[in-house]
Amino acid sequence: MNSAPRWLRRSRPVFTLYLPTLPFVLFALFPLYFMFVTSFKTNAELYDVNSVPFWIGRGVTFGHYELLSKDTFFWSWFVNSLLVSVAASAISVVLGVLAAYPLARLKFPGAESFGVAIFITYLVPPSLLFLPLSTVVNRLGLSDSLWALVVTYPTFLVPFCTWLLMGYFRTVPKEIEECAMLDGCNRLQTLIRILLPVAVPGVICAALFAFTLSWNEFLYALVFVSPAELKTLTVGVFSELIRGDIYYWGGLMAGACIGSFPIVIAYVFFLDYYVSGLTAGAVK
């Protein structure tokens, strides 16, 4: 029905599809590109108003990265963030799976209230919660240890994981579980052997999200952990590279680059799982 010449027809998507997408991609990527480029610029060029900000004119320097590695506990911070994020995500996903299953499948008194209660926890901002929470953390004897974070992070991770997995579980037909139970499995076995394998994309999606949120967290990490070697990445970078009224821009950008790296890698590998996890989780 299209009477235009073939080459125009074939290249139409380029104009109606790829070209409009380009601004979005540029908008998303530009600050990150800028971050990357800035981390390799010399200070002299960084602070020179006349230099072109888009690329490096005066020689690439690894000095900022060296500063990070040698003069700060950067790699310890990196490992700390990794440990805390993995542990907190693992705990949150497990708790989320356990909580989502009854909410998605079972009818029991209090189901609706609990479901709602989970959301309500998000209405209380951490910038308010951290003060009474620090008293609790202290009483548990956890302050100044990474455990404080592993224990407190699930408070904002579990609700989201639960919601996501709830939605995901609902898309899995009930019949397969019912068959398993008729065959003699109890609920736990059904969950682990039947539901989970099918729900892997949802679980991965929840885990990725949890990991991202843990990795980015700043306030609790600042308040509950003081010793320099135990800090997480975001806190450490801020403490060491912002001194009084001087911001070590090169170092900050280098820290931001390295700090984003693991998450980017994780997403590149798991992107499809992530999208399909959201697909089922968001559309009940």
Binding site: S134, T135, N138, W147, L222
Partner: protein
């Protein structure tokens, strides 16, 4: 969607799930071990002293402090730990530690003496240490300033004096020399702005704005609280004069962006070659030196043409303030005597001298002998710093420091007042009335408690 029945789930995936769970359990145990190892070790027999401080502008200062702490710890067989955070985060950390009544033994306090009033019931009395420290160092600069409700609840530790940092080459270019009064600077700013080099005074929600605008207010004879510490004195003729002066400064001598400046913006303005002068400690100059920043378009280093002159004088007075960084001991600490001992050690003349040396004079202690430290003669550009220290008073001057006076600063009431009038949002009367109301609210809230 296909519906697999239980029977059709392959044997292999069932086994792999079990393996997965087993691996997960093992992993969790391993993780637990790693995390436990990362925990600060429980204090056994050895005593431990912990000190929380802010990342100082000159990193060597922190290193010197750590060295002194380690040295003292070795001598007294005490395990020591110095924790550093960014100064903007100190406020969060302090609140959390006080709320939980647990944390560090020694802590940096500030910027400002107000913390001593705010946390009065949580700090140890330091009258004895203050008395011990003073004689060997030529006495405190101004003892009465540091007393909170008549007591030493903290030791004033260091301050960065606020001279005017100026580009001497541009000054020559516009045919000015030896500026001294605020009117001089207005004139210089006007001429500078005409050639693309305006004056740089922050009037935004930032500490530098508090400092400079209070300087201007005092130089016109105004103030915001009276000597009794509770009467609001902002509503006065002198305040209106200061308001009008700042409006002229803003419209004739500066660029509009100063309304959103933060503490680092004026540094950047000077070092980028834009601003002709800023009211700032020597931090801008120091970083220009370190980064070998050049004058735009030239090869000459900008640090060579930056000079520091005395903080400006107004029709009535020459007076300025700055961040009073202090150190205190929490009374929930289990090592109060040890902490006091370290303070005495750190405040010994030789240690103070070394510490100031490490900071290139940026961190000036409140002790008379230290204003004569050789570092202020080493660089010609530092010669006025001790002079500025002599006219530096706490922000609540002429009143004593209280939690309320500190809150006025923390909420940037003064900069907002000046900004609203300078930008034309409010008339002078409206701005003063607004500030007065806000301050009365704050002081009323505080008064209710006592």
């Amino acid at each position: 969607m296909a519906r697999p029945s239980a029977a059709s789930i392959p044997e292999s995936s069932r086994v792999s799930r079990r393996q997965f769970l087993g691996a997960a359990a093992g992993g969790a145990a391993g993780l637990g071990g790693i995390l436990a190892a990362g925990r600060a070790p429980a204090v056994a027999q050895t005593k431990e002293l912990t000190f929380l401080t802010i990342a100082s502008f000159v990193p060597e200062t922190d290193k010197e402090l750590k060295r002194q702490l380690d040295e003292w710890g070795a001598k007294n067989k005490v395990k020591v730990r110095l924790d550093i955070i960014a100064h903007l985060q100190l406020v969060t950390k302090k609140a959390a530690e006080v709320q939980a009544r647990s944390g560090h033994d020694l802590t940096a306090l500030g910027a400002g003496l107000g913390d001593a009033d705010l946390y009065f019931d949580h700090l140890v009395d330091l009258n004895d240490v203050a008395a011990d420290v003073a004689p060997k160092n030529g006495g405190w600069l101004n003892e009465n300033d540091y007393l909170i409700r008549g007591k030493w609840k903290l030791l004033p530790w260091w301050m960065p004096p606020f001279p005017m940092a100026v580009r001497t080459d541009l000054l020559e270019q516009i045919g000015e020399k030896n500026p001294d009064t605020w009117e001089d600077w207005l004139r210089i700013g006007k001429k500078g702005k005409a050639i693309g080099h305006p004056l740089g005074i922050a009037i935004g929600q930032t500490g530098d704005a508090n400092t400079t605008l209070l300087s201007i207010l005092w130089s016109y004879g105004g103030s915001y609280v009276g000597k009794d510490g509770s009467t609001i004195t902002i509503n006065s003729k002198q305040t209106r004069q200061a308001l009008d002066f700042v409006k002229r400064l803003y419209t004739e001598a500066m660029d509009p962006e100063v309304v959103a400046w933060d503490d680092a913006s004026n540094n950047r303005c000077l070092n980028a070659g834009k601003c002709i002068a800023i009211h700032n400690p020597i931090s801008a100059y120091e970083s220009a030196k370190k980064d070998k920043v050049t004058i735009p378009g030239k090869t000459r280093e900008i640090a060579e043409v930056i000079d520091h002159v005395n903080t400006p004088k107004g029709p009535v007075d020459r007076r300025t303030t700055t961040g009073y960084w202090c150190v205190g001991i929490w009374n929930f600490s289990k090592n109060v005597e040890l902490a006091k001992d370290f303070l005495r050690y750190h405040f010994q003349p030789e240690n103070q001298a070394r510490w100031v040396e490490a900071g290139h004079g940026f961190n000036l202690p409140f002790l008379a002998n230290l204003t004569k430290h050789p570092v202020y003669k080493s660089d010609r550009q530092y010669r006025f710093i001790p002079e500025v220290a002599k006219v530096t008073v706490p922000p609540s001057w002429p009143g004593p420091t209280t939690a309320a006076s500190q809150q006025v600063l923390d909420l940037y009431i003064i900069p907002n007042m000046f900004a609203q009038h300078a930008t034309g949002k409010m008339t002078a009367d409206q701005a003063v009335a607004w500030a007065e109301k806000e301050m009365q609210e704050i002081y009323a809230g505080r008064r209710r408690k006592t």
